[in-house]
């Protein structure tokens, strides 16, 4: 396991911002230390400090779900938590779910079912759906729809998103 420290995004800040602390996060299996201001959200830490731009900023107010990541296995809105609050947490982003060579079953199902148009909400949809599968509460189409209600798709690909998730849900584990 490698450890690296990231200090500032995109060069030095325009003005000096005083209180900076250190936070250690385990992201997609890799421990990362960040020098970071306390008001940095987990979402901004991922995108601006760690170059993990798979996680998307949509509304930045917890309403759209584009920023969904898994923290200690649970899906949350990364825009509504501070990076410093997640000291020591195990974080999985879309980059950690699958690789181009070996897609996560949900990633393959989203492709097979044409479950996106512009694709902006897709990383959040897939992270959310991955947690839905492990939670084990959704059994029916209606329950998938209800338990995916925190992820908005402005293109309206809902029918195919639900179909993709349902296929993975109903596929026996190998």
């Amino acid at each position: 396991m490698s450890t690296s420290t990231t200090q500032a995004p995109l060069g030095p800040p325009a003005i000096a911002l005083a209180p900076v602390g250190t936070v250690t996060l385990k992201i997609n299996g890799v421990e990362r230390q960040l020098q970071i201001a306390p008001w940095t959200t987990l979402l901004d830490a991922l995108r601006e400090y760690l170059d993990l731009t798979g996680t998307k900023k949509g509304c930045d107010h917890g309403q759209c779900g584009a920023c969904t990541v898994l923290v200690d296995g649970k899906r949350i809105n990364s825009c509504l938590t501070l990076a410093v609050m997640k000291e020591g947490a195990d974080i999985t982003t879309i980059e950690g779910l699958g690789t181009e060579e070996k897609l996560h079953p949900l990633q393959q199902a989203f492709i097979d079912h044409d479950a996106f148009q512009c694709g902006y909400c897709t990383p959040g949809q897939i992270c959310s759906a991955a947690a839905l599968l492990t939670e084990g509460k959704a059994k029916t189409t209606a329950e998938i729809r209800e338990l995916m209600s925190g992820n908005i798709c402005r293109c309206g690909a809902y029918t195919n998103i639900v179909a993709a998730i349902e296929e993975v849900l109903n596929t026996p584990k190998a």
Partner: protein, 340 residues
């Protein structure tokens, strides 16, 4: 978001001391509402004290046979907790009717009590709002007020309390355990939140340095005949226009005990004991339910765009009481309500 310093609480007493020593301190738990308000510059704390380090996450039986929800238990862990599902399914159902799975994973039970209103003018720094800036006026009265209150309003404020969970807690006679400078005390749920009167800036009756440590559910059985009915503009993930928590204890077709609380209609979860008394001893019929509904809304006042809520609330009460009497709802079937 303004700049602030950040520390982690080491103990409940220490957290209370930190807050009482500095007006700029805010506690942060789930952060789902506080950070949202900070991004809008409505909340501007100078220091955040992270209380997630405190040992308040468990759900345990109380010596009196009830259930104690730790203030830091998440909404999701509470709604899906086997004891809550079995003994307090009304609470499970109310929690699952609110927010999204992501937010329920973050939001805590204690934090849910401190949610602030979603009145659009409260969120809009460009408009007057007595809750945000006391004395500046209320933009909702005479403005666009479709989501606003119809009961217990004042000339200062017609905002509603947004929580679903709190409506069920009011109906279930929960008590809130609170620690402050002078030690621990308990607050009846009905007395926790307040009406706006001429001080809408205060949502609840706690002192500024008090912290909620737990919510206690009494040893009462409303696990058979209950309903949480939430009516909103879209099927899921929206705040209530009107919601009803109804719970009955029946002997044959006679109502032995009744609980009735409404959400989306007032500055606090609206429990109506007088309407409950109208139900007690009566047959569980539509006529009885209609009388209770009329009693709840007899002093209701519409402000134009929200006047439809008066009739909506009456019909919702009747429907929720019918569902409760029929005993057709179960926590794990909560989705049926929202996916007809």
């Amino acid at each position: 978001m303004n700049s602030f310093t950040y520390t982690r609480a080491t103990a409940v007493d220490a957290a209370v001391r930190e807050k009482s020593a500095d007006d700029g301190v805010k506690f942060i738990a789930g952060g789902t509402n506080l950070l949202d308000l900070m991004k809008e510059n409505i909340e501007r704390p100078t220091r955040l004290v992270d209380i997630n380090t405190l040992p308040l996450t468990t759900i345990d039986s109380t010596p009196e046979g009830g259930l104690r929800l730790g203030a830091l238990a998440t909404n999701a862990d509470t709604a899906w907790h086997p004891e809550v599902e079995k003994r307090y399914p009304l609470l499970s159902q109310a929690i699952l009717a609110g927010a999204s799975p992501q937010l329920r994973n973050m939001a805590t039970d204690g934090g849910n009590l401190f949610q602030r209103t979603r009145c659009y003018y409260f969120y809009d720094l460009a408009t007057p709002c007595n809750k945000r800036e006391p004395g500046s006026g209320c933009s909702a009265i005479g403005g666009y007020n479709r989501i606003h209150a119809i009961l217990g309003t004042s000339e200062s404020c017609i905002a509603t309390h947004p929580s679903d969970m709190c409506v069920a807690l009011a109906a279930l006679n929960a008590t809130v355990r609170v620690t402050g400078k002078n030690g621990e005390r308990t607050v009846q749920f009905a007395d926790f939140h307040r009406l706006p009167e001429d001080q809408p800036q205060f949502d609840n009756t706690l002192a500024p340095d008090e912290i909620v440590t737990a919510i206690d559910l009494p040893n009462e059985d409303f696990s058979q005949n209950f309903s949480y009915l939430k009516l909103r503009d879209r099927t899921s993930y929206a705040f209530a226009l009107v919601s009803v928590a109804a719970a009955l204890q029946l002997e044959g077709n006679t109502i032995k005990e009744a609980r009735l609380a409404l959400g989306g209609v007032a500055h606090k979860p609206w429990r109506d004991s007088a309407a409950e008394n109208l139900l007690k001893g009566q047959p569980a019929t539509e006529e009885t339910f209609r009388r209770a509904a009329a009693a709840v809304l007899q002093d209701a006042k519409g402000y134009g765009h929200n006047t439809f809520k008066i009739e909506l609330a009456k019909r919702a009460i009747v429907r929720a009481l019918k569902q409760a009497a029929e005993g057709t709802q179960h926590a794990t079937e909560a989705f049926k309500n929202s996916n007809p």
